[in-house]
Symmetry: C2
Subunit: 111 residues, 2 copies
Amino acid sequence: MEAAIRAIAEPHRREILRLVWTAELAAGEIARHFDVTRPAISQHLRVLKEAGLVSERRNGTKRLYRTRPESIAELRAYLESYWDENLRLLKQAAEQEEQRGTRRDRRHKGD
Amino acid sequence: MEAAIRAIAEPHRREILRLVWTAELAAGEIARHFDVTRPAISQHLRVLKEAGLVSERRNGTKRLYRTRPESIAELRAYLESYWDENLRLLKQAAEQEEQRGTRRDRRHKGD
DNA sequence: TCGATATGTAAGTTGACACTTTCGTAAGTG
DNA sequence: CACTTACGAAAGTGTCAACTTACATATCGA
């Protein structure tokens, strides 16, 4: 998970994921979409693979990559829970503040 | 946006955001939650601030930090659209594949 | 088997990054 | 006016990351 979040922090890798999201593509085809050299893309693919974000399948001399929807779903769920949990706490804190503010016996002074 | 996504890739920074999500905290108070030195946290706070993820307010000698819900919402929306757009394309691709597969005049061979 | 194609790996470079220690500075306190 | 508190900024360090060029490896076709 930690690896996944670090992996998508890199713009090239987000773009790679997008490319192989719908279609399985060979490493060379992927590399053709970028300005950097092919080995650079190869390394990005390795990072993505080690983070579990893409799968690799060999066919002859080619290596076909594809985004793994399951791992994307996991990453997404992780972030969702991060936002949601904190948002929940924020609301809760706001409500408590509200409570205290409306209680007569305790004036709320600005710090 | 790019800065924001890079900012949250760092675990300490995600934890800092969580700390000041509900309560405004001084830099020193934040630092007390971590093993690293106070200046290290100061630097993380600068990164977060430059990414727009936290606000800074001075009060006497203290500097109070708080997570900015709006920027979090933006980041969240960016990621949502990233997942959603691609998921949409994936479904669309699957449907087209389905179409092709059921048409009689065109056998689908596994490459 | 020879050559072309497709690709990962190795090694080196550069810059960013997370951290530390040291120092400067502004605001309260006696 | 010292002295303390609460910080950020500066400078130095080790590590990691993204990239390059050069090389090794595997497969396919003639």
